[in-house]
């Protein structure tokens, strides 16, 4: 709930900062939307790992006979559902503030799904950092933001193209980039999570 409110605040603030007139609104809105998604994603991941840190819950989780990779996927899934829920609130607000047409929203939601998956898989993998080390939230942002630049770029540009009226086939290249990004982090999470958490 707090995260959703935070994301809405990001949207409102950046609308104030970037909104010019009705003509440019369409090209600014995707950036505002995706930046808010990134912020919401990092907040969600931070909070989900913060809970583990508080009562040393991770140790218990690691001692239990669950495969490590499935701890990763469980967390990943939880964060993804949460982030998608935030986006359900976010998208209508952005559409309202920037007078977006509703038609390209359906393909946009596919982009959002892929992009969110990428953010969350990167964030969940490196979020464990905040449990294992003295590093805190700022460090997590420092590590995760540079990693997600290709997904952010892909998401923003593809969404902008959609709202500029590009046919779906033109956006396909960006969808592939987003999918490749997701695969990189899914693979990295699956292969590295165990090694990262064991001494």
């Amino acid at each position: 709930m707090t995260t959703a409110f935070f994301a809405v605040l990001v949207v409102v603030l950046s609308s104030l900062a970037f909104y010019l007139d009705r003509n440019t609104a369409k090209s600014i809105a995707p950036g505002v939307l995706w930046v808010a998604v990134v912020f919401a994603g990092i907040t969600s991941v931070t909070r989900s790992w913060g809970r583990e840190r508080e009562e040393d819950a991770l140790r218990g989780l690691l001692l239990s006979p669950i495969p490590r990779a499935s701890i990763y996927f469980g967390k990943l899934f939880g964060n993804l559902v949460f982030l998608l829920a935030v986006e359900v609130v976010l998208v209508p607000i952005v559409a309202l503030l920037f007078h977006l047409e509703l038609e390209p929203l359906l393909p946009t939601s596919v982009l959002l799904l892929l992009g969110s998956f990428g953010f969350v898989s990167a964030g969940t993998l490196f979020g464990a950092l905040s449990v294992q080390t003295r590093a805190r939230d700022l460090v997590l942002s420092i590590v995760v933001f540079p990693l997600v630049t290709p997904a952010l770029l892909g998401g923003v540009v593809a969404t902008r193209e959609l709202f500029a009226g590009a046919p779906l086939s033109e956006v396909l290249g960006w969808v592939q980039i987003l999918a490749a990004f997701d695969l990189v982090f899914l693979g990295a999470g699956y292969l590295l999570f165990d090694a990262l958490l064991s001494d």
Binding site: L129, R134, V143, P146, P150, V184
Partner: protein, 246 residues
């Protein structure tokens, strides 16, 4: 480690430096001197870019040094997570630092070139932009390591960062290229070309940068290994109650 018997204090002699290390340093300096001679005396001034074209000789080899450093960093990170030997951690750190150093040179010289070629310093040129984005990843690697003494956990996460950074390098390149494009392609089989008199300067600069990169990596790895040894001795001394902490 070196501490076998407490009575004989670790008689670590001044670390012997291989003569090859000195030789490599000398060769590298010589190569740079020759390069500068070739660049400014032998190679002709370019018709349209003027003297600014000479930036090319430092820009392109630096980009190559950057990729060498980052690749080694990823390799070191992978081997560290796999073998858990601090030796590979040293390689990973050295690679990331040297790669980022060369990236800084690329990011400095690129915009200066762009000022002349395109009229603006920062033209959102795809290669320079993707270099910046990748440099941010390896920069966060270095930031992560710099928060106090890097513990084992920091080392592991930094290694993961170096590993993931490598495939992302290609992804970033590809996506930024899709986004915008105007970088000149001089050094490919077919695009562009350079005057024959410019070639020796370029080759010599490539060799000089190679020497510099290897020498820096070597030095950095040695320093990191010494650091690790000192920490290990301190730990061992503290464990034996010898008050080794300084």
């Amino acid at each position: 480690m070196a501490l076998t018997t407490p009575s004989s204090a670790p008689s670590t002699p001044a670390p012997r430096v291989s003569p090859l290390w000195h030789a490599l340093a000398a060769i590298t300096v010589a190569l740079f001197l020759v390069s500068f001679y070739l660049v400014f005396e032998v190679a002709p001034v370019e018709e349209q870019m003027g003297l600014v074209q000479k930036i090319f000789y430092v820009h392109v080899p630096s980009a190559y040094g950057m990729y060498v450093g980052w690749t080694l960093s990823a390799v070191g990170g992978l081997l560290f997570l796999w073998k858990r030997s601090d030796r590979w951690d040293a390689l990973s750190v050295a690679g990331a630092e040297v790669g980022t150093l060369f990236a800084a040179i690329v990011l400095l010289t690129g915009p200066l070139w762009g000022r002349k070629a395109w009229g603006v310093y920062w033209a959102w040129d795809p290669r320079i932009t993707s270099t910046l984005l990748t440099a941010m990843i390896y920069g966060s690697f270095l930031a992560l390591r710099s928060f106090g003494a890097a513990g084992q956990a920091e080392k592991r996460f930094a290694a993961a960062l170096a590993i993931v950074g490598f495939p992302l390098l290609f992804l970033i390149k590809y996506s930024v290229q899709r986004w915008s494009g105007q970088h000149p392609v001089v050094l490919t089989g077919q695009g562009g070309g350079i005057h024959p008199d410019m070639v020796p300067a370029l080759i010599c600069f490539f060799l000089a940068v190679t020497g510099l990169a290897i020498w820096l990596l070597w030095t950095r790895i040695r320093i990191e290994r010494h650091r690790q040894e000192i920490l290990a001795i301190e730990l061992e001394a503290a464990r034996r109650g010898l008050g080794g902490e300084s």
